[in-house]
């Protein structure tokens, strides 16, 4: 569970990034953060994985107050991260990119093979395991990024503009993949995007405008979009 209570973020130059954010994301829920560029979506995500500090308020992840953490790696190991540009390590194959975190955690080679193949299978890239990232398309690279994020089976998945660099067709495929992962693996997901089509997924949508939450809509309140539902 993710809980934010009156969270504010102000930069040293006085610029406000987030103002009085109250947000509760129950376990296993998928939430889309939408809003224009600079609204504060990415900042909110960064606060969750300790990529940035918040100025005031409280943030609890799994009932742990993250402002009291000393070793951030403990928190980060419970979170799978997906970035806009996939951020793959260019010198490693698809398999090794996904396996990296498992190797760093001391998993055995047997366990690594089992888990990596499983994750690549989920994203449909098992046949590309030996490829280098530069030989993949944008959509495929993002899928590898997703496989890397889920390979440790973390309870939380955070994605920051995961379709920002993709064409509409690939974007829809990625969103569909997120939905499948959420339903199959029951991961709590917070996805920041400015893609308006996320309404079609009938998941919770939180809108951020001018650094504040201006709308929080549960799936039951969302209008249907007929034939475009994925």
């Amino acid at each position: 569970m993710i809980e934010l209570y009156r969270v504010c973020k102000e930069y040293s130059n006085g610029q406000l990034a987030l103002k009085d954010i109250n947000l509760h994301v129950p376990m296993g829920q998928m939430v889309f953060l939408i809003g224009e560029s600079g609204a504060g979506k990415s900042t909110l995500l960064k606060i969750l994985y300790k990529g940035e500090e918040f100025t005031s308020g409280r943030v609890l992840i799994g009932r742990v107050d993250i402002s009291r953490l000393i070793d951030y790696s403990q928190l980060r190991r419970r979170i799978g991260l997906i970035f806009q540009d996939a951020s793959l390590l260019p010198h490693l194959t698809v398999f090794d990119n996904v396996a990296y975190i498992l190797r760093a955690q001391g998993a055995s080679e047997r366990e690594i093979r089992y888990r990596v193949e499983g994750a690549l299978n989920v994203v449909g890239l098992l046949d590309k395991a030996k490829e280098m990232p530069q030989h993949l398309s944008g959509g495929e690279r993002q899928r590898v990024g997703i496989a890397r994020a889920i390979v440790t089976n973390p309870p939380i998945l955070l994605a920051d503009e995961p379709t920002g660099n993709l064409d509409p067709v690939n974007s829809l495929k990625i969103f569909q993949l997120f939905k499948e992962i959420n339903e199959k693996l029951q991961m709590t997901m917070v996805i920041a995007t400015h893609d308006p089509r996320v309404h079609q997924l009938r998941k919770r949508i939180v809108q951020i405008s001018n650094n504040q939450i201006t709308m929080d809509t549960e799936p039951s309140n969302l209008p249907m979009f007929g034939s475009l539902v994925l």
């Binding site: 994985y49 990529g51 951030y72 790696s73 403990q74 928190l75 980060r76 190991r77 419970r78 979170i79 991260l81 970035f83 951020s87 390590l89 010198h91 990296y100 975190i101 190797r103 760093a104 955690q105 001391g106 055995s108 890397r148």
Partner: protein, 294 residues
């Protein structure tokens, strides 16, 4: 088992890091190696200077009395034995001195030409006891000459201390240079991979798994550079030993007077290797501590 596996992976990451650095490795190792070669040469030079001074200063608690022909050596020896500060008395007869001279100049002079005096070499317990005893013996008026170069020994002592001081200063300077070169190298590598390292941090990769490979990389730079520097020094020494030394020193009868021995050279190479590894690992550790906040 898990710890060992992690350790092996840290080394594997270091290997990968070295491979990715490509030609930069050669540049870094060359710079470090050159610094260590200078360091090694300075060490050899310092050892040589100390050796010269020690060889010359080895006799500073000894002096020689060249007796008048009319004075029987035994009577002087008996008198000298009464002094508690005298620990050893050696006599070189005029015949022995003559034989040695003929051998040195390699000319077989007739013995009738022997003008060498009987010589008594006296060794005292402490250096400061030599000068007063020399003055006392001078009052006996049994000598043609007493050989004790007090001022010369004093100057040599100054040179010896100066050599040690200069050697230490240069060593510190080169140690700092080694440290700075390696520190900057590791810092450059960290900066070049900043985004990638940030990504690893956010993925929850542990502190030492990120920092470890850089420290190992620094140690490897130090090890390879110092071994290469040591090999080059050894080659230079062998070349000089079998060419210049033979020509210059052996012909002048100064064998091993100046040149560091094999044992001393081994010591220099060990110091060089240890210093290379120590400074490189310390600097890479410091660079990761300063530039990698995980």
């Amino acid at each position: 088992m898990k710890s060992l596996r992690m350790l092996v992976r840290v080394f594997a990451e270091s290997g990968l890091g070295l491979w990715r650095s490509g030609w930069l490795n050669a540049v870094i190792i060359s710079i470090l190696m050159s610094t260590l070669i200078v360091f090694g040469i300075m060490l050899e030079f310092s050892v040589s200077l100390k050796k010269i001074a020690s060889n010359l200063l080895g006799s500073q608690n000894e002096f020689a009395i060249y007796l008048k022909d009319s004075v029987p050596p035994q009577s002087i020896i008996d008198r000298l034995k009464n002094f508690s500060e005298v620990v050893e008395v050696k006599i070189i007869s005029k015949e022995d001195a003559w034989t040695q001279t003929k051998k040195l100049v390699q000319i077989d002079f007739d013995n009738s030409l022997n003008s060498m005096p009987n010589t008594i070499v006296v060794k005292v317990r402490r250096v400061n006891e030599a000068a007063p005893l020399v003055n006392k013996i001078k009052t006996w008026e049994v000598h043609e000459h007493i050989s004790y170069a007090y001022e010369y020994i004093k100057k040599l002592n100054v040179i010896k201390h100066f050599a040690i001081l200069i050697g230490s200063f240069i060593s510190v300077l080169l140690a700092i240079a080694t440290f700075v070169i390696n520190f900057n190298t590791i810092e450059l590598v960290i900066r070049a991979r900043k985004e990638e390292l940030n990504l690893l941090r956010f993925m929850g990769v542990t502190n030492w798994f990120i920092k470890g490979p850089f420290v190992v990389q620094g140690i490897l730079y130090g090890l390879v550079s110092s071994l290469a520097a040591g090999s080059i020094l050894l080659a230079l020494d062998s070349f000089a030993r079998y060419n210049w030394k033979k020509v210059i020193f052996e012909s002048l009868g100064l064998i091993d007077f100046f040149w560091p021995s094999s044992e001393e050279l081994t010591q220099i190479l060990i110091i060089l290797t240890l210093a290379g590894i120590a400074f490189s690992s310390a600097s890479s550790f410091w660079a990761t501590e300063r530039r990698l906040s995980v």
